[in-house]
């Protein structure tokens, strides 16, 4: 009897092992290979070529290792398991992201922020230089990231700098020629609504609040004037880029809202030679990175003719502006969006563009993290 039990136990143990090891091995063979991982946003390694020279150079072994690692069966689920196991071990900081709880108990991803005053100063000086060259009004909308509001919720001892101080610092070094509109206060009340849980961007709601506040404070809209913040459409199941860094099974997806004024007379992606009549690139709504539906992502130069009355503006922008522009189409007749990461000044400098397009106002719309890190502002000078 004893022996029979022993034998049964051995067989169960061996079965567990065989199923797991040979299961993964078989799945590698049977399952068709993926070309692209939406989760990691990169191309996946394919089967390496087997040849004497590739073996000798070590390319084959390296290639096989990346192939197996990339095409591993149920890889996304396994990475999720790892994230949650780490959380179980008490690690609420993973891969540069803090995982905290919102007031309603939902999981929120917060990106770590490390202030780099040197870089901020350099970037601000580039913007100052530009403002000096222009004779039209220049405004700066500076948007803090969500970490500005969650410092007290981060894990004990977390080394995340205070963005509010960075925003103040920018204000203190910006030239008087630039109208400074920090959004720290505006977005503070119920900030949880203003930023996505799983993405590093602000929500359409947050962008709308900021747009309205800017237009009012700058006098372009009456003090009791309002932008239409009602969404025309909501898109569910948005898992953003921060989620991909530490995918947890307990994360709630975000809802992406599309404003009511996305239809325009014409929108033109200048360098791409493409045009359309809506700010929303609908194909992205089916994909993982739904935020890219706004304007289809970031491009060097996007020109929007809204078909309405109003000033012509040029927006120097990062990806935060992509969600905000839908709330500015009622206000302006023409919006030119320049992303300095992709726009090079070989053709025309920003001041030349302003002249050629007859721009009435330049708006700089950036998030704090961008000003802190980006190294492309030097293209302005």
């Amino acid at each position: 009897m004893e022996n029979k039990h022993r034998r049964a136990a051995d067989i169960v143990m061996i079965a567990v092992f065989v199923i797991i090891i040979f299961g993964f091995a078989l799945a590698l063979i049977i399952k068709s290979d993926r070309d692209f991982s939406e989760m990691e946003n990169r191309n996946l390694a394919q089967k390496p070529e087997l040849s004497w020279s590739s073996i000798k150079s070590g390319d084959f072994s390296d290639g096989l290792e990346s192939y197996i690692s990339d095409q591993l069966f149920a890889k996304d689920a396994l990475v999720t398991l790892k994230t949650d196991f780490d959380r179980l071990l008490g690690k609420s900081y993973q891969n540069g992201v803090y995982l905290i709880k919102d007031s309603d108990g939902r999981l929120r991803y917060v990106q770590k922020y490390t202030e780099d005053r040197e870089q901020i100063r350099e970037n601000a000086e580039c913007l100052n230089d530009l403002a000096d060259k222009l004779s039209i009004p220049v405004d700066m909308i500076l948007v803090p990231n969500v970490s500005a509001y969650t410092l007290d919720k981060l894990p004990a001892g977390a080394d995340c700098n205070d963005q509010k101080k960075s925003v103040e610092y920018v204000g203190s070094i910006l030239s008087d020629k630039i109208g400074f509109y920090p959004m720290t206060e505006t977005l503070a009340a119920s900030y949880e609504q203003n930023y996505y849980l799983t993405d590093h961007h602000w929500t359409s709601w947050g962008a709308a609040l900021a747009a309205e506040d800017y237009l009012r404070r700058s006098g372009q809209l009456a003090a009791d004037g309002a932008v239409n913040k009602e969404p025309s459409e909501t898109v569910k199941d948005f898992y953003g880029t921060l989620y991909s860094k530490a995918p947890s099974a307990f994360a709630d997806p975000d809802v992406l809202e599309i404003g009511s004024s996305c239809g325009v007379a014409e929108i033109e992606w200048v360098a791409e030679g493409k045009s359309g009549d809506n700010l929303i690139e609908r194909s992205f709504l089916e994909k993982k990175d739904k935020y890219a539906a706004f304007l289809g992502g970031n491009f060097a130069q996007v020109r929007i003719r809204t078909g309405r009355e109003g000033e012509k503006v040029l927006i120097l922008k990062d990806s935060y502006a992509n969600a905000a522009v839908q709330y500015l189409t009622e206000q302006y007749s023409e919006i030119t969006m320049i992303d300095l990461r992709y726009y090079r000044m070989q053709e025309r400098s920003v001041s030349e563009l302003c002249e050629d397009y007859g721009v009435d106002r330049v708006i700089m719309l950036y998030n704090m993290d961008f000003i802190n890190e980006d190294r492309n502002f030097v293209w302005l000078s």
Partner: protein, 471 residues
């Protein structure tokens, strides 16, 4: 190739198991040999020939040492030749550049080091194995192996090839020709392998990430507590990494019907350094005992000679771990402590309560790792200074140190529990009390859990270092 990789688990291991159990008995060693060579050649093919050369030397020496056929003189010459060959390779590949660099800096010479000289992986392990074989044959402890294939299988056996344990020929001499794989042994092997993989991937890698983060932190973010936290993290990392590798080796060996000797026996429960070295990397310390300490005279030639012998052994033990000053210092450090314990300290310690002895041993072990962990002498000194409050650091800064501690608090608790023989004892109790439930459900479920979670960590491409490339 490393055990803790998806390529090993899902390609290599499944292939070698399938082939091994598919072929008839007389081909089994050949299958192991071929796969072991592929395993070794993975990523660095040329050094396979070096290893084959060492096997050939060992094989021929074995034949010449057969005293019935050859005179004692032939045997002696051949064994000396084999020792010279093995130590020569080890010295050349592992220590040449170290000697050159130190000659350059100490004696202001200008010899250019061999830039492309990469250390063949596992050379320290297989050199010691072939050495033990030829010396044992010469001494008459074991019979020489007539079958080249069997000897080659022994030396290259992939489970123990690159990170030990140093399996002696006499341990598996019989098993090389006469082993029977069984369900029971295979299932034990599975269990052991899963435990080892979990130790390496879940525990060691996780806490190792903390050590590398702390040791890379700028001095301004450090505190006395943080530097202790870092080195305690390394203490756990090296134990769970190394003993995890040994567990995986022993487990894989069992799957193929081999029984290797244990290499670790809960070293961190030791009450003295003498006890620690009976529990840590047992196959290495017993190797030095049998092939260096005892031949030097051991304790048979008076106290002074014994002290000298102990220091020689521990200097060599330290140096074996890598061609660097810190490894030598680490060996000498333990040599001195062991000497003190042998001469007077153990007798004194016996009078103290167990907890004090335990703290004494742990403290010295942790400080030892503080020497072992840093190859850069200035980093080593800085860290030691920091640990003992000489680095001008606050005891506790309430920022980074708090973060490191809190983020890893649960992990530390698990590591402490896993360093104790608690699970082992629990298993023994459950085997008796609930034989069926434990054997058929609990153990397989725990094994599946360890395997799946380990695979999840591998899938996440998390921190996964190989610590023994210097060995």
């Amino acid at each position: 190739m490393l055990f803790s990789s998806t390529t090993f688990l899902f390609v290599f291991l499944s292939l070698v198991l399938a082939c091994y159990f598919a072929v008839p008995r007389f081909l089994k060693n050949a299958v192991l040999l071929v796969f072991s060579l592929v395993f070794y050649a993975w990523g660095e093919p040329v050094y396979v020939f070096l290893m084959l050369g060492s096997i050939t030397v060992a094989y021929l020496t074995g034949l010449f040492c057969d005293k019935q056929k050859h005179s004692g003189r032939t045997a002696l010459i051949s064994v000396i030749a084999a020792v010279v060959w093995n130590l020569g390779l080890l010295l050349f590949f592992k220590y040449t550049n170290f000697f050159i660099e130190n000659a350059n800096s100490l004696m202001h010479m200008n010899i250019s080091p061999f830039k492309d000289l990469k250390l063949p992986i596992g050379i320290s392990f297989y050199s010691f194995q072939t050495l033990s074989y030829v010396i044992d044959v010469y001494r008459g402890g074991v019979k020489s192996q007539r079958n080249f294939l069997n000897l080659a299988t022994y030396v290259t056996l992939f489970p123990q090839l690159i990170a030990g344990p140093i399996v002696r020929y006499q341990t598996i001499e019989e098993q090389l020709v006469n082993r029977r794989e069984s369900l029971q042994q295979f299932s034990r092997g599975v269990k052991r392998f899963a435990v080892g993989l979990g130790k390496k991937v879940i525990l060691a890698n996780n806490i190792g990430a903390l050590f590398s983060e702390i040791s890379a932190a700028p001095q301004a973010e450090m505190s006395v507590c943080a530097s202790w936290l870092g080195i305690i993290a390394y203490t756990f990392q090296i134990y769970f990494d190394f003993s995890g590798y040994s567990d995986m080796a022993i487990g894989l060996g069992k799957m193929f019907g081999f029984d290797f000797l244990e290499n670790f026996n809960y070293p961190y429960i030791s009450d003295s350094i003498t006890e620690f070295w009976r529990r840590w990397h047992i196959s290495l310390s017993s190797w030095f005992r049998d092939y260096v300490y005892i031949p030097l005279g051991g304790n048979r030639k008076g106290k002074v000679r014994q002290c000298v012998n102990i220091m020689i052994v521990w200097f060599l033990t330290g140096f074996w771990h890598g061609a660097n000053w810190n490894f030598m210092m680490w060996g000498v450090y333990f040599g001195i402590i062991l000497l003190c314990e042998k001469l007077f300290l153990l007798a004194f310690l016996k009078k103290l309560p167990r907890i004090i002895r335990h703290i004494y041993a742990l403290l010295l072990i942790v400080i030892g790792w503080g020497i072992f962990a840093f190859e850069d002498t200035s980093a080593l000194l800085r860290n030691l200074k920091n640990m003992f409050g000489l680095g001008g650091l606050p005891l506790w800064n309430g920022g980074s140190d708090k973060f490191w501690l809190m983020q890893n608090a649960i992990l530390f608790v698990i590591l402490i529990i896993a360093s104790l023989p608690l699970f082992k004892k629990l298993g023994e109790v459950l085997t008796v009390k609930l034989p069926t439930a434990y054997g058929c459900v609990i153990e397989p479920a725990c094994t599946a859990f360890l395997l799946i979670v380990s695979i999840a960590y591998l899938a996440g491409n998390s921190f996964n270092p190989f610590l023994y490339f210097r060995f």
